[in-house]
Symmetry: C2
Subunit: 353 residues, 2 copies
């Protein structure tokens, strides 16, 4: 590592020949165009007060040197990064990845980039680590797609002054929350099955740590109680088709079970498989409803009746809410629910058909 020449004296003129300069700055463009860097700045930002001929010279110099603005310097100057951080556990679930996609798309339309901060295994340490990292990250605000109670458990508070929107959580009393209307979706599913004439509905819930799983389960229970129907024992899965299959085998063994509401489509898929293997026909013997309406749900055997979630809308509202905070100042807590819609396909029918 030899350093002979005094730094920065002939740097710009050096560029073409010797070791190339890392990056082209406004000063380089200014030098080539024979103007001041401030004029370059004006051209770069489309500000008025630059005569046409000068502007053209500057533009020519820019493209000759391949000038690109340095966003770090910009951010430093403006105190904003034009970036949104998204903290999440993983993209493996359809819901998460579709929400993130919507967030990214909508944020891009608003001139914001998004930075992904994955928390591998949802341990307290990892959540803590993600938050620490996030604190140092170049973001103007954060969208949390994460179970907030883990946040509580980790006794972490968000750094003060960080704008936050939470997805899929019960933190509506502390943060702005955007979520699918889990309860209403579940109600629609259960009422649909009861409306078909089923005496009651079994429920295959997601993991107890999941807020949305709990919300769906409690709505299910509530509808049954309200209708004066017996509440069958709760089955639990982990969102995976495999866990749905295992639960499905148990449900298939109970001849009284004629209607199943699975907390997501993948578990419903597993249930369909288990019922099929046990010789119970869907929907003739057992009706099955899912939740999410993932792209494949219409191709299951039989095509699945399920609750449609508008992930794109959730993502859009998250971004809007966060940008609102960033531009107009912090907003209070509250929950913004995106409606769901039951999509009836071929996996449900009156009992004993």
């Amino acid at each position: 590592m030899i350093k002979i020449e005094p730094p920065r004296l002939r740097a710009a003129t050096d560029v073409p020949g010797g070791r190339r300069k890392q990056r082209v700055s406004m000063a380089d463009v200014a030098r080539l165009a024979g103007v001041s860097s401030q004029t370059v700045s004006r051209v770069a930002n489309g500000l008025p007060g630059v005569v046409e001929t000068t502007r053209e010279q500057v533009l020519a110099a820019m493209s000759e040197l391949g000038y690109r603005p340095n966003s770090a310097a910009r951010s430093l100057r403006y105190g904003r990064f034009n970036t949104i951080g998204v903290i999440l556990f993983g993209l493996s679930s359809t819901g998460n990845s579709r929400t993130v996609e919507a967030i990214a798309t909508h944020a891009a339309a608003e001139g914001y980039a998004i930075t992904l901060i994955p928390v591998g295994v949802p341990t307290q340490d990892n959540v803590l680590g993600a938050f620490t990292r996030m604190g140092e990250l170049a973001v103007d605000g954060v969208i949390l797609i994460i179970e907030v109670h883990l946040l509580d458990a980790a006794a972490v508070t968000l750094p003060p002054g960080v704008h936050v929107v939470v997805v899929d959580s019960d933190a509506g009393d502390r943060y702005p929350v955007v979520d699918t209307d889990q309860a209403d979706g579940a109600r629609q599913a259960v009422r649909h099955l009861l409306g078909l004439g089923h005496r009651t509905v079994w429920h295959l819930a997601g993991p107890a740590e999941s807020f949305s799983a709990e919300r769906r389960a409690s709505a299910w229970r509530h509808v049954l109680e309200e209708a004066g129907r017996p509440v069958p024992p709760l089955e639990r899965g982990d969102w995976s088709a495999d866990s749905g299959y295992r639960a499905g085998l148990r449900l298939a063994a109970d001849p009284a079970c004629t209607a199943v509401f699975a907390a997501n489509d993948q578990m419903a898929l597993g249930v369909l498989r288990a019922l099929h293997e046990r010789g119970r026909r869907v929907p003739a013997d057992v009706s099955v409803v899912g939740f999410d309406d993932i792209a494949d749900a219409g191709s299951y055997l039989p095509p699945l009746t399920t609750v449609h979630q508008d992930f794109a809308e959730v993502g859009r509202r998250c971004v809007d809410a966060l940008l609102g905070q960033i531009h107009a100042g912090p907003s209070g807590p509250g929950t913004d629910l995106v409606p769901t819609r039951l999509v009836v396909r071929a996996s449900t029918a009156p009992p004993g058909l």
Copy 2:
């Protein structure tokens, strides 16, 4: 917008009371701790040359003020952002989202954040726009999960000096490419079916614009030709289960068709449904193989024989390759293939079983 006090004179002492200062800087911490900001910097970076008592004072001041380093200033200083950009079309495909997740996780482990740059509809304009945006973005390198020929069509070149790794493309002659070994996966699938005794194998390909679809299709054709088998007409879908269903209906109508290799699992799902509806049993009448081995594939009816892709490994290698470039300088083009593995489940069997 009233501005009375001269900026920056009493700013630090003002903080607790009046309009709060945007952000705590090293200077603020230094003031409170009664040291220079350089000493704060040393403490923040764990550098030696700070006596224990001083260090403690600084740390105390940091936590009292809630100091967080400003990454924009850091980036400006170092000329690096510790961020990787990922340009992609969407997260809707399982492959993309799993690859991105792996990239994010692995990058985080290496101290890098990732910034998502979605290109909505893959038009030339949009690709161009994404590249422009990316050029201004605070990233040290870019991973392209995108069909590179679109890049060519848009006549875009990556800004010089931007480090790049491409996924799923034939650009191995120009860029470093990391990809699943598409061809070998397809070969395994077709040979498995031939090995079971099928006379030939039908193929349901992905869209012609997709490089991996083309690669799988050409491997399929090659294996058949090599084995001297007839090459049935190619069916095409768009990766969706629906398109698989439509193609499946056509295939079901041909009694000669006893073995289908679908270019992904979702289309295979559609094929299964079509065959089922047309009364053709799987695998007794028709064998079906997919590609990807998505989480649900084992729960299809019947559980799907498919080619397993190691998305996590692809993501990991992308990050490694990119960080290698960033730290050790540009590396030449070339293709790094991640092996695939056939997972045999219940959707394949000898013909006429």
